[in-house]
């Protein structure tokens, strides 16, 4: 009998995912199962026992009525965007052609792709469900309530993953065929997580827990989230906490909520298989070729800034190549989103300028790395163009640095001015001085980020590899900035203004050193 096609695809997907651990592949499932069993049986209960009174108080509070649905919503949303992000970052239309040429139904491909990665998501589901059951256990839930709690987590999370897998497959069809589409896909993959980050920031620093202690607010949030399937099971878990060992008291609620959740899962499974035909197609989705417009005022100004001659042309070319990639603009949008959320949720109560300035220490190095940190993303060949030309390496580094400044400095200035305007006691002259210092610091951060990127060039075409390279450099730049700032603030006790001046000097020195080393490395790359 021929093996089921979805199983073939699932096996293949699984093999690809465990490729990096080929040596232990045969033992991997047993190893993971064993570790998870230890976690569920010992580690999670042991951890919960440290805070058992807090957990009991939490589950029996007004706060939990809205907080548990919020937590479930966060997991639900995260598991939807996870496969989408993964797909958008590394889309390949060619693999779809392999499937389409073979005698296999699109629904089998979709199901196979889903089941192939499910074991890995099951690890996350077990960790979360194991933690919740351990936290609920001291309340005295009976075996049936525990089993239903586990079923709720499994069904809710699998529904989210399936929805994410279907959307990912549809997105691949929409975007993978053209270079523009792949760019859009990568751009989207970066900003998808922002709504989730917003909710998390609201919980951590935005006063959401305090607000939810109010029954009115809690009731409103609960009612809104109640419309989402992620809440159907979450509310049942809270009901179990209020009625431990007495499922009969909430028998109807248990039946309706659980049935609704299972019906939702079956419905999305069915709809997903129906959508599969549209999810696996290599028909072109667009015939619009992007066309360059004649240079406007902006590029003419950039050319003028570059001296108007051949370097001006080079600077404009570098700028165009950067600005026409939605992925780059999306990175800026992402970091701007984070900065805005940090200011909204964490900097609310500052009455002096130090608060916004300290926050800037964390975020502007990221902004700088996100803007100039991918000099090598198009492979060595693109860098060889500069190596081949007279003084090409130096001119490339100079052009990239100016381009980085032209993007980062106005953004950082605007953010700093808006942040400082919100500080009621601040007067004009010190604010202007702070703005100037921040501008200089951001310019230094850009130079440092470029130096780091050149010193450790990321040649991989993989969006995931590029992002991990960026994050490494961003963390180095951030810790350098914060380290110098806090170190000099504590050790020298100079006051914030002088500390910022000292920090500027040190970061500029570091930037010059790294830029020199990076340029030398670029000149020696073979």
């Amino acid at each position: 009998m021929a093996i089921r096609k979805w199983l073939v695809v699932a096996k293949n997907e699984y093999r690809i995912r465990v490729n990096s651990i080929r040596g232990i592949r045969p033992y991997f499932p047993y190893l993971v199962t064993g570790l998870l069993a230890v976690y569920v049986a010992f580690i999670a209960p042991a951890f919960v026992s440290l805070f058992v009174d807090d957990f009991i108080a939490f589950f029996l509070s007004q706060f939990a009525l809205a907080m548990v649905p919020i937590i479930m919503f966060l997991f639900f949303f995260y598991l939807i965007i996870l496969p989408i992000t993964y797909t958008l970052q590394g889309m390949q239309a060619g693999r779809v052609e392999i499937f389409l040429a073979a005698p296999i139904k699109p629904s089998d491909i979709l199901l196979g792709e889903f089941l192939g990665v499910t074991p890995f998501y099951a690890i996350a589901i077990t960790v979360v469900a194991g933690f919740f059951t351990a936290a609920l256990s001291p309340l005295g839930l009976d075996v049936l309530q525990m089993a239903i709690t586990v079923i709720i987590f499994v069904v809710t999370f699998l529904s989210a993953l399936w929805i994410g897998t279907v959307i990912a497959a549809l997105a691949r069809t929409k975007f993978a065929e053209s270079a523009r589409g792949r760019d859009i896909g990568r751009a989207l993959s970066l900003v998808l997580a922002l709504p989730m980050v917003a909710v998390m920031y609201a919980i951590i620093g935005g006063g959401l827990p305090e607000a939810l202690a109010n029954p009115g607010t809690s009731g409103t949030v609960k009612a809104i989230l109640g419309l989402l399937p992620s809440s159907w099971g979450a509310e049942l878990v809270v009901s179990f906490a209020f009625n431990p060992g007495n499922i009969g008291a909430i028998g109807f609620e248990t039946f309706t909520r659980l049935s609704g959740l299972v019906a939702f899962f079956v419905a999305v499974l069915w709809l997903g298989t129906k959508a599969a035909n549209r999810a696996y197609s290599i028909e072109p989705t667009t015939f619009i070729a992007s066309r360059a417009k004649p240079d406007g005022y902006f590029y003419r100004a950039v050319r003028y800034l570059g001296g108007g001659g051949s370097f001006g042309t080079l600077l404009v070319s570098v700028f165009k190549n950067y600005g026409r990639r939605l992925e780059n603009l999306s990175r800026i949008a992402y970091i701007l989103g984070i900065i805005i959320m940090v200011n909204v949720f964490f900097v609310r109560d500052f009455t002096d300028p130090e608060g916004p300035l300290i926050m800037a220490q964390f975020l502007f190095p990221f902004l700088a790395v996100f803007i100039v940190g991918q000099v090598a993303m198009h492979g060595k060949e693109s860098l060889f163009i500069y190596k081949k030309t007279p003084n090409g390496v130096g001119r490339f580094v100079k052009a990239k640095l100016i381009q980085g400044w032209l993007v980062a400095v106005p953004i950082a200035t605007a953010i700093t001015v808006i942040s400082l305007i919100r500080v009621p006691q601040a007067s004009l002259i010190p604010l202007l001085a702070y703005v100037v210092i921040i501008i200089l610091l951001v310019a230094a951060n850009v130079a440092l980020a470029l130096g780091l990127a050149l010193l450790n060039p990321q040649f991989s075409e993989s969006a995931r590899a590029q992002m991990s390279g960026l994050m490494v450099n961003a963390n180095i730049a951030m810790f350098a900035s914060i380290g110098v700032f806090i170190g000099s603030l504590i050790a020298l006790d100079l006051g914030i203004f002088s500390t910022l001046l000292l920090q500027n000097t040190v970061i500029w020195l570091l930037a010059i050193i790294f830029l020199y080393l990076g340029k030398r490395k670029l000149g020696r790359i073979e």
Binding site: K5, N12, L100, P103
Partner: protein, 262 residues
């Protein structure tokens, strides 16, 4: 001679109102056991034709039969009797050669007791047996192409579609692929449908050729017949005569312009 590929006004249009005619009313017959070459410039409609005949995309109008099976009604049967080497296929680079062929064999329902032996045979044929457990990401371009051809042969299809089989290969790998195609046509009796814009490859391998331009089949016959029809001396000249080309004078016009200015 038995016709194994027959297209009847096969068309694929894109865009609003179908203004982009990727393939336009293609009438074509390919005979059993022959090696047929579809020649054409970039964007002429070769790959679209192959995708239509392999049921990867659906025609806007017209239809075709492959080995007697209708591409609109019997797509699964068509897929079972054809093997495809796509122009830019997505290899699973994190699989070994053996794993990839095992996967492809399973997709085509090759029984597992036959599959292992067939993979070994194909890897030996392509001189890759000693590298069977290496990941494909470490293979050279030529080696990857060999694996892709092996994957097209894994279910032993009577009809083989090869879209630009040598375009990315170095001369040595290209020679090896050409020899293999010849062997498949002569010894194994396969019907081979090659798409290419590399004229010597088509000239050397194909019994008959068709020239396609802007979606329309504009010439059909043996190489000698097409040269005779166009009253030229070589296939290259015939191809340029049929599809149109850029004159050397046009190419160098900017130099003349510049020297005229100075």
């Amino acid at each position: 001679m038995k016709v194994v590929i027959h297209s009847d006004k096969l068309s694929k249009y894109y865009g609003k109102g179908g203004e982009i005619k990727a393939v336009d009313e293609l009438d074509l017959e390919v005979y059993e056991g022959e090696t047929f070459g579809l020649l054409g410039p970039n964007g002429a409609g070769k790959t679209t034709t192959v995708r239509l005949l392999n049921c990867i995309i659906k025609p806007t109008k017209g239809t075709a039969t492959v080995s007697g099976f209708d591409i609109l009604e019997e797509d699964t049967k068509v897929k079972r009797v054809t093997g495809l080497l796509a122009e830019s296929p997505g290899l699973y680079e994190k699989l070994s050669a053996y794993e990839f062929l095992e996967f492809m064999g399973a997709l085509y329902d090759v029984p597992s007791n036959i599959l292992t032996e067939r993979i070994d045979d194909l890897l030996k044929l392509f001189e890759l047996h000693d590298r069977r457990d290496y990941l494909l990401e470490g293979y050279s371009r030529g080696m990857k192409q060999k694996i892709l051809i092996a994957s097209a042969l894994i279910h032993d299809p009577p009809i083989l579609f090869l879209d630009e089989p040598t375009s990315m290969l170095d001369p040595r790998a290209a020679l090896m692929v050409k020899d293999l195609i010849k062997k498949l046509a002569e010894s194994a009796g396969k019907t081979i449908f090659i798409c290419s814009h590399i004229l010597p490859v088509v000239e050397e391998l194909c019994d008959r050729i068709g020239i396609i331009n802007q979606g329309r089949l504009i010439a059909l016959g043996t190489v000698d017949e097409i040269i005779a029809q166009t009253k030229t001396k070589t296939l290259e000249e015939a191809f340029i005569a049929i599809t149109g080309g850029v004159e050397e004078k046009e190419l160098l016009a900017w130099r003349e312009q510049k020297s005229g200015d100075s």
